[in-house]
Symmetry: C3
Subunit: 310 residues, 3 copies
Amino acid sequence: QSSVTLYGRVNTTVERQKLGSVSTTGMFNNSSRWGIKGSEDLGGGMKAGFQLESGFASDTGAGTGWPGLTTAAGALNFGRQSEVNLSGGFGMLRLGNFVPESYYATADYVSMHNHDTGSSSDALYYDPVWFGGLGTKNKIGYRTPSMGGLTVDAAVLLHEKAAGTNNKNGYDLAANYNMGPLHLGAGYSYVNSNYQLGLRALYTFGQFTVGGYYQRNKDDNQLNGGNGAGTRNNFRLSGMYAMGASEFHVNVGRANDWSKLNDSAATQWTLGYNYNLSKRTKVYTYYTKLNNEAPTADFSSLALGVRHNF
Amino acid sequence: QSSVTLYGRVNTTVERQKLGSVSTTGMFNNSSRWGIKGSEDLGGGMKAGFQLESGFASDTGAGTGWPGLTTAAGALNFGRQSEVNLSGGFGMLRLGNFVPESYYATADYVSMHNHDTGSSSDALYYDPVWFGGLGTKNKIGYRTPSMGGLTVDAAVLLHEKAAGTNNKNGYDLAANYNMGPLHLGAGYSYVNSNYQLGLRALYTFGQFTVGGYYQRNKDDNQLNGGNGAGTRNNFRLSGMYAMGASEFHVNVGRANDWSKLNDSAATQWTLGYNYNLSKRTKVYTYYTKLNNEAPTADFSSLALGVRHNF
Amino acid sequence: QSSVTLYGRVNTTVERQKLGSVSTTGMFNNSSRWGIKGSEDLGGGMKAGFQLESGFASDTGAGTGWPGLTTAAGALNFGRQSEVNLSGGFGMLRLGNFVPESYYATADYVSMHNHDTGSSSDALYYDPVWFGGLGTKNKIGYRTPSMGGLTVDAAVLLHEKAAGTNNKNGYDLAANYNMGPLHLGAGYSYVNSNYQLGLRALYTFGQFTVGGYYQRNKDDNQLNGGNGAGTRNNFRLSGMYAMGASEFHVNVGRANDWSKLNDSAATQWTLGYNYNLSKRTKVYTYYTKLNNEAPTADFSSLALGVRHNF
């Protein structure tokens, strides 16, 4: 009776992980998800749409948690997305719970080797709204129509007097611009004098794709025991070489010290290889390493995995 | 391989709510839900069917709880419905968990402006079975075939020695009768000498629809700290004027004092406006107010929302 | 956009159960479930597939738990299955969470009257991997292609240093062989010097089907307060006579004493009758009884139910 689509991603790895001097061989989930989405043509160029998305651990079957959402351990929920929207010539109005567009425009966009999931996901990106308590919920979003290749997203997250946010609304801004092989983006989020600003570029030439982003963080009252960690610069570069069904990936990130936290810098790098069995299915391997400057334990993992989209 | 339908409703509002003297601006869920249903033709006029329905908070993505169901916070579950049924010339036999037909026949039927959901839902209707501990589960239901426009539903809720119900089964009865523009209904539920009896009428003439119900409650041992609140009369009137895609709504409810509880009366009224973008999608606004005679805090809300059925 | 199937089973009974001298009349769930599955043709005889399956209590709507999975009470989860697989001429490689093939090859195979669910399910089968802590998760499985009617399944369950398993991987082996009306199977599972070995045969002649399995258990450190219960022999026979839409069932199981546990033997028997309204839908009744040799309370139940597959 309606055009509803059931979709998802099952993304499972077997990994040899090492945290400090402790090694573990295990099976791991890489942001597996399932969801329901649909849209309705309202006539006159208008559409109504919705999307509900639930994360699950493909290694065990448990439901997964989500920043800022209070939900019981192992339970399925729509923490990843629960949105209703109206779109038309005016753009798109969105209500509910959805991932920040500032993230999609920057960190996610250049994380090409495994969709920014699992043990090789970007460990250095920080968003004071998403990870600082407000999460992704209670959000009113607006997206402009495409203006000569430029799209802008703006959103406000209503605090609803939630504890731990000093009763401040959160804000999220993003811009995406496509000009032939060059893809630019920017993201900004702000809550209670904490912000992050990201700038991203990605360029495709022949079989090569090269991308990167720079993030500026300012933390006044979330980290460092609520005293604020100060400012930080965070850089990431990624490259892909595609050859037939094969993709060779490299991804390197470096976050400098927070200005108020000595030895808080870290470096993360990943070498990856994907073999695309189809557009929806790949087998892959990667080696990833996270070096912390502080005496915190370093992390590394050698992974072998299968990802299937449906 | 089978005719299974995925369906649901995403119903999200932004509201300015006031409880006593405290105001909040927030995003709210209005009984959003998703479900799976299907039926199978068994031949000879017989059918088998099932329905599984799960509530979720469209503002956050969390799963929602349900009266009488023990389930973890924020977890998806089929608390709203989990039913298997067989139907044919004899009527319909239903097993499992489903909303009382006594409610659909009365309070739900006349709550036209927003499906009896959210902050303007009927705050005065009381069902000693549904809200008194037994919930909607462990139910054996029977529905008669239509007898000249009359349908009768009967159900028993097995107590299974559940605590807090004094080991008494619950009972639910409903009748619906349609005669041209006049629609009549009655509902009755009973457990352990507590009951509610509701009578409903709804009449359509031209673009006007007017409905109302009267409910008689008797509470012996659930409310008032288990001492019983006595008897109560509860009235509600609702009206709608439809003009093209627009609907203008008014809804007023008044519950008198419980005979053993002084100042327990309350009045609730709502003014609403719906604009139907399609049969499935509307934008709407309402103002609702609940005045309690007791020194309990009054509640009001001004809401703006989108509802999309799929 | 993809060939995704939504499937499930709603299986609900009303039962008069007796545990010791205490009787209860109630509504019960019999392993109801819903799931999402699909497969993708990758060309060259290869396929990718996935399956996600969630249990729920059809009598109440709550989600159900699963051995070895930590999940909140009443929450939906994919504890029953969350698998991604690749198959082709080489057989099938499976990653994730799925029920032991050793069980499907033995106990499940001969439990014909109600799919080994509910109060008449096999109470005597014991698997030290599945029920001993590792559950069904973190599993790498391989299935051979059919070799003249013979299929072999092998799997390893990664311990991931899980507590309570002494950090030992689990192993599961199964074989199935079909030769006309004769169907043979074997299952073996092992973890930390505990094992179970099962052998199964099922034979069809005309309207009769007769099956049975023998299981040998060895428990070194799981039961008996971790001191080990020793060895045990467990037998089961089942028979079905089909006549049109009717099926008459008998199922008898006998587990002898564990060698280190006096009076630990038990006998279970069930008489059942199914009436198939279609291939997907049946109504049924059974009487089942579990007699424990120990002074533990005996259990019996008279059940009447409906099962609908979708």
